[in-house]
Subunit: 345 residues, 2 copies
C-alpha cells in the first residue's frame, strides 16, 4: 500500500508513462528499460491501484449477480458457475440476494451500485416489465429464469413449457393418470411456474386427458416446507393423486418427506418428479427424478452475453436475445423405483 506508479518511476529513473507501459505489457518498450522498471517494481512491491485504473477507464471488471436466495442449491450452483464463467473473462462477481422481493429486485435492477459494476445478471421472481422499463440507463443487464418480459434485455432461460411437458409425459408413460402440480404461486398468471404449469396442462391434454385444476397446488414459495405443506393438503383430501410434478426439487423433496412420514411408497403409490437437478436429489433415500437444466451453459451464456453488451457500451439491447439452453430428463428412483443404480454417481 502506498507505492504508486510515481514511486516506481522515480526509482527506475523513467516517467510514469513508461512504468504504465511495462505494467500493461505494452509491447514497444526497450528491453533494458523494461528490466530496470521491473526491478523497481519488485523492489518496491508495487501493485497497481485498481480503483484508480477503474476511474480512468470507466470500467471495473466487476459484474453483479442477484439471485433470490443462495439457500436454494440451484442458485448456489448457478452462482458457482457464474463466478467461474466470469473469471474466464477476467471479471469478478459481486453477489446479492433479493429474497424474491419485488422491492429488492427493483433496487438491484435500478443499479443502486452503478459505477461499481460493469453489468448485472438478475434472476427475478416478482419484478414486473414496467420496473424494467423504468430502469434509467443503468449498466447492461441480462435476465435469467422463467419470468418473461417485454423489455430490451437479453434473457437466458430453458424452454420451460417443453421441459414441463417432458416431465409430465414421463409420468403418463409410466401409467400415472392423476398427476398433481405442486408450486403454482398464490399470485398472478405471470409469475414463475406459469410456464411449467402450462406445460403440465398441455401434456395432459395431448395424452387425451383433461387437466384437473383441483390438483394444482398453490404455495407461498418454492422451498422444502412449501412442498411439505402442499403435499399434506393434497393427502388430506379424499382423492389423492398417483403422481406429483413439482415446480422444483426443493418442493419435491419436501413433498417426499411427507409421503415417507405417511408411509406411502414412492413411486408405487405416488411417483415424484422435480426440477433443477440439485445434488441432494441424487442422495435422497429415494433418489429424485428431475429435469436437469444445463446450469453451466446458462451461466456461460449469461456471462458471454453480458460481457458482449458491456463491450458494446449500450445500456439497453436494441435487439434483445432470447436464448434457450438445454434441459433434459434425468430418471431416478422416485419414478421407476429401485433396480437401477440410484445415485447416478
Amino acid at each position: 500500500m502506498g507505492v504508486s506508479l510515481k514511486d516506481v518511476a522515480q526509482r527506475a529513473g523513467v516517467s510514469v508513462k513508461t512504468v504504465s507501459n511495462v505494467v500493461n505489457s505494452y509491447p514497444h518498450v526497450k528491453p533494458e528499460t523494461r528490466e530496470r522498471v521491473q526491478r523497481a517494481i519488485d523492489d518496491l512491491g508495487y501493485r497497481p491501484n485498481l480503483t484508480a485504473r477503474h476511474l480512468r477507464k470507466g470500467r471495473t471488471g466487476i459484474i453483479a449477480l442477484a439471485v433470490p436466495e443462495l439457500g436454494n442449491p440451484y442458485f448456489a450452483d448457478l452462482a458457482t458457475a457464474v463466478i467461474d464463467a466470469a473469471s474466464q473473462h477476467d471479471h469478478i462477481v459481486l453477489l446479492d440476494h433479493t429474497a424474491g422481493l419485488r422491492e429488492k429486485e427493483v433496487l438491484v435492477s435500478q443499479g443502486f451500485r452503478s459505477h461499481i459494476i460493469d453489468g448485472l445478471i438478475l434472476s427475478p421472481i416478482r419484478l414486473e416489465t414496467e420496473d424494467l422499463l423504468a430502469r434509467a440507463g443503468g449498466p447492461p443487464l441480462v435476465l435469467l429464469g422463467e419470468r418473461e418480459y417485454d423489455a430490451p434485455y437479453d434473457h437466458i432461460a430453458i424452454d420451460n413449457v417443453a421441459a414441463a411437458r417432458t416431465a409430465v409425459r414421463h409420468l403418463i408413460e409410466l401409467g400415472k393418470r392423476r398427476i398433481a402440480f405442486l408450486g403454482a404461486r398464490h399470485e398472478s398468471l405471470r409469475q414463475p411456474a406459469h410456464l411449467r404449469l402450462r406445460g403440465w396442462r398441455e401434456e395432459i391434454r395431448a395424452s387425451g386427458g383433461v387437466p384437473d385444476e383441483s390438483l394444482v397446488l398453490a404455495t407461498d414459495g418454492y422451498d422444502r416446507r412449501d412442498g411439505a405443506a402442499a403435499m399434506t393438503r393434497l393427502l388430506d383430501r379424499t382423492d389423492p393423486p398417483d403422481a406429483v410434478f413439482a415446480y422444483n426439487d426443493l418442493v419435491a423433496l419436501g413433498a417426499m418427506r411427507v409421503l415417507t412420514e405417511r408411509g406411502l411408497r414412492i413411486p408405487e403409490d405416488i411417483a415424484v418428479v422435480g426440477f433443477d437437478d440439485i445434488e441432494e436429489g441424487q442422495y435422497a433415500a429415494v433418489s429424485l427424478t428431475t429435469m436437469s437444466p444445463d446450469k453451466t451453459a446458462i451461466a456461460r451464456l449469461a456471462v458471454d452475453c453480458l460481457v458482449e453488451r458491456i463491450a458494446s457500451g449500450a445500456s439497453t439491447a436494441a435487439f434483445p436475445r432470447r436464448i434457450l439452453p438445454g434441459c433434459t430428463l434425468t430418471v431416478r428412483e422416485s419414478t421407476i423405483g429401485r433396480g437401477r443404480p440410484g445415485t447416478g454417481a
Copy 2:
C-alpha cells in the same frame, strides 16, 4: 452516466464543494441552497460515482468472502448471512470460491484483489501458517473454520472438540458402543477434522471406552459422495459399527443413502450424527441429528471483527482474537427414530 458533481454545481449555480456537502448530508448547508442543489440533482438524474469516491477515500466498502465451495449448503448459508451482516455496515460482498485448493487459498489471502476490497473473510482448508505469514501487507483478514493458525489474524470458529464430544456423548448415551468417525482427511493431522476427531477420541475415553482407530474412515473430501464411499467401505467389513459420527452433514447424508440402499435401519441398526445443520437434514427421509453451529453469529462476528480491523487501519492484528460462537446438538430421527416430530419445522 456522464452527469458529474460539476454538472450539478453548474446547474444549481454553486460550487462542487456545496453539492458534495448536500450529497453527503453535511449538516451545515443553508436549507434553500440544499433545496436548489437537490432539485438540480433530481433534474439531471445525478448519481455519485462511487469509484471516484473510493479512490479519494482509499476505501471501497467492498469485502471479499472466500469459501471452499458454494455447493455445500453450509457455505451457501454462511455466505447469505455474511452478505446480510455486511449490509448492516454498508458493505457489499465479493464472493469467491477456492475449491479448498491451497494454491487458490494463497492467492486469495495474498489479496490479488487488493485496492478493490477493504478486507477479506477466508475459510481455509489447506492454507498453512507460513502462507499467512508470507502475506505481504494485504488488506485486513478474518479467518473462519476449523483450521488453527499461529498468525496475527482474528479467527472465528466454534469449539470443535467440545462440539464433537457432545455429538459422541449423545450416541454413547443411546447405548451405542462402536461409533465410527467418517471424514478424517487423507492428510496431515493439522487438517480440518483434526479437532472433531480429537473430540471423538476424548469422549470415547471419557466414557471408559478405547477408541478403535479402525473405525476412523478417511475421505478425499467432505461431500455426499465421500460419505457414501466411506460408508460402503465400512459396511463391506466384517465388523460394522452401530453408529456413525460424520465430519459434516453432507458426509452423513451420503452415508445414510448407502445404509438405506443396503436395507439397514436408521437408527436401530446404525445411528447417524452429522455436523452443520443444513436444511436438507431436516427433510431427509430419516431426519438427521446434527451439531448446529450458530451461523448467523459466525457471520456477524466475522463481519464485525473485520469492519473494526478495517477502521483501525492496520493490516495485521497486534492482538489477534479467537472467538467461539455457540454450537448446539439438534436431535432428530437419525438417532432417536420416528416418534417425535421429525422435520423440526
